[in-house]
């Protein structure tokens, strides 16, 4: 386990800083000449040449050719939102409770709900103004149904900001949900592992 001690110690001078040992500057002409001679003989320039040549021969290229190759993004990275569906039935998880709209600190979520023919509350309109969104993750945190989550899509280009916020784009495709191709969501907003062990019974009596 990593302790927090090293972060709590704010006195930087105690933690591994040391003064660089600088030789005294040459003063007499003879000392200067000796310095020039020793530096010329040491062959540091050839060490430099060897190092770059070695790297060229090893050919250990570190370039990531970005559009073709991408570095993995952390599972809890907070990029553009996604709306999840239930497994198998493919029903939208969102119950229209409006908690995300309430908690959003930059007021960028806006939703309208209605009662549909099955007497079930559904979302009729749902937009996230990504121009305002600060990707804090509160909406995903507060969502009781794990409906709105943060996905990993960090590349967004469009002529209009409104294009980012189409509800249909955020929604998991229906057929994917039906086929069971929606994996258990591990990202931001998902239930953390071992959550059961951490749940405590609610004290009901005061």
């Amino acid at each position: 386990m990593m302790s927090l001690e090293q972060f709590e110690n704010r006195n930087v001078s105690e933690s591994g800083y040391y003064k660089v040992d600088i030789e005294s500057y040459p003063e007499t002409g003879w000392e200067k000449a000796k310095q020039v001679f020793s530096r010329a003989i040491r062959g540091e320039l050839f060490v430099g040449l060897w190092v770059v040549m070695r790297e060229m021969i090893k050919f250990d290229i570190h370039t990531v050719q970005y559009p073709k190759e991408k570095l993995p993004v952390g599972p809890r990275y907070r990029a553009v939102h996604e709306m999840q569906r239930l497994w198998e039935s493919g029903t939208e998880r969102c119950i229209g409770c409006g908690l995300c709209e309430k908690i959003c600190i930059s007021d960028c979520i806006r939703m309208d709900t209605k009662i549909d023919e099955n007497n079930r509350k559904v979302v009729s309109e749902y937009t996230i103004n990504l121009g305002r969104c600060i990707f804090c993750g509160y909406c995903a945190e507060v969502c009781p149904e794990l409906a709105i989550v943060h996905g990993g899509r960090y590349e967004n280009t469009s002529e209009q900001r409104a294009h980012y916020t189409e509800y249909d784009d955020m929604l998991t495709p229906f057929d994917m949900a039906l086929k069971g191709e929606v994996p258990e969501y591990p990202g931001f907003g998902a239930v953390t592992p071992h959550e059961d062990e951490r749940v405590k019974s609610t004290p009901l009596a005061y």
């Binding site: 770059v52 040549m53 790297e55």
Partner: protein, 329 residues
């Protein structure tokens, strides 16, 4: 005979111009690639296979960019300066034999534009005139970074030219001719005859001075990006800046040829193998220019002048004196 000579010379000039303009372009490609590999990068990859067509993309960009002349610049001088750099670089090539002479359709071709008897003096002189490009361009562009570059150019120029001249004196005394073909023939006997064995000090001095001559990395202070933006090139755009670039890379190629011809046997006895070895040796020196750029830091102008005046020049003079004594006795 006169007409044939005239036509032959024109053809040779055109070939040299075309080949080395193209090579200057490929030089930028090699430079990017080799620097990238030495720094664990890939370099240009997207235009064409392995980024080979990057040169074409750069060419289109340079040719089609707007040509801007700043308001307070001295127009005519500002416009002519890049031409001086590029033109003198190619003019210097006139006295360089690029290949041994060969016979085609019964006609003997000497792959040298003009075998003048003051070849080396001519090359050094014309290359030195090339420094007027950065100097005039930076003075005329009314920019403080360019002005600093001009001051540095003047200081560097005086410093390294002394070393170049003195370093070459000793081999010149041995060969007794200014013609590069005579130099080549002097060393035609094989590896043992190369002047580098009898004049190692002159070789190293001339090589170091070549870095200052071409303005390559240890002595790149005339256009040091991290100190004075692009120095003389700060105000230039489009093809005028491109001409500076072509001049610089052509100069690198020509000085590599000259080093090989002077010290490393040139094309030897004139066989095909000799010609190939000539190109290989030249390629090594060109590669070394790129190699040092990846490996070595730039030095300050005062350090360069200190090096040239206090270390290299006395060494060169000593070398001349010792050579003289050895030749006398």
């Amino acid at each position: 005979m006169e007409t044939a000579y005239f036509i032959e010379t024109i053809i040779k000039i055109v070939v040299i111009l075309l080949v080395f303009s193209a090579l200057a372009g490929f030089g930028t490609y090699f430079e990017r690639k080799i620097l990238a590999f030495m720094q664990r990068r890939l370099g240009p990859m997207n235009v064409g296979p392995f980024g080979v067509l990057q040169i074409a993309a750069d060419g289109i960009k340079l040719f089609t960019k707007e040509d801007i002349v700043p308001t307070n610049a001295v127009g005519p001088i500002f416009k002519i300066a890049p031409v001086i750099t590029a033109a003198t670089a190619f003019m210097a090539a006139a006295a360089i034999p690029f290949m041994p002479q060969f016979t085609i359709f019964g006609y003997t071709v000497h792959p040298i534009v003009a075998d003048v008897n003051i070849g080396i003096l001519y090359i050094l002189g014309v290359m030195a005139v090339g420094f007027y490009g950065p100097l005039l361009g930076s003075l005329a562009s009314s920019n403080k970074f360019a002005l600093l570059s001009a001051a540095r150019a003047a200081a560097v120029f005086i410093s390294y030219e002394v070393v170049t001249g003195l370093a070459l004196l000793a081999p010149l005394m041995m060969v007794g001719s200014f013609s590069l073909i005579d130099f080549n023939n002097y060393q035609a006997g094989g590896v043992g005859d190369w002047i580098i064995w009898s004049q190692p000090v002159a070789f190293v001095l001339f090589w170091i001075a070549a870095f200052a001559e071409t303005g390559r990395t240890p002595f790149h202070l005339v256009a040091n990006d991290h100190e004075i933006i692009d120095g003389f090139g700060t105000e230039y755009s489009g093809m005028r800046w491109g001409l500076f670039f072509i001049g610089e890379y052509a100069n690198m190629f020509f000085i590599s040829f000259v080093i090989v011809l002077l010290f490393l046997g040139g094309f030897g006895d004139g066989s095909v193998f000799g010609a190939l070895m000539f190109l290989l040796k030249m390629a090594f020196f060109f590669f070394f220019f790129l190699w040092t750029r990846a490996a070595w830091p730039d030095i300050r102008p005062d350090q360069l002048m200190w090096l040239c005046w206090k270390i290299l020049m006395p060494l060169a003079v000593l070398n001349v004196v010792v050579t003289g004594f050895v030749m006398m006795f």
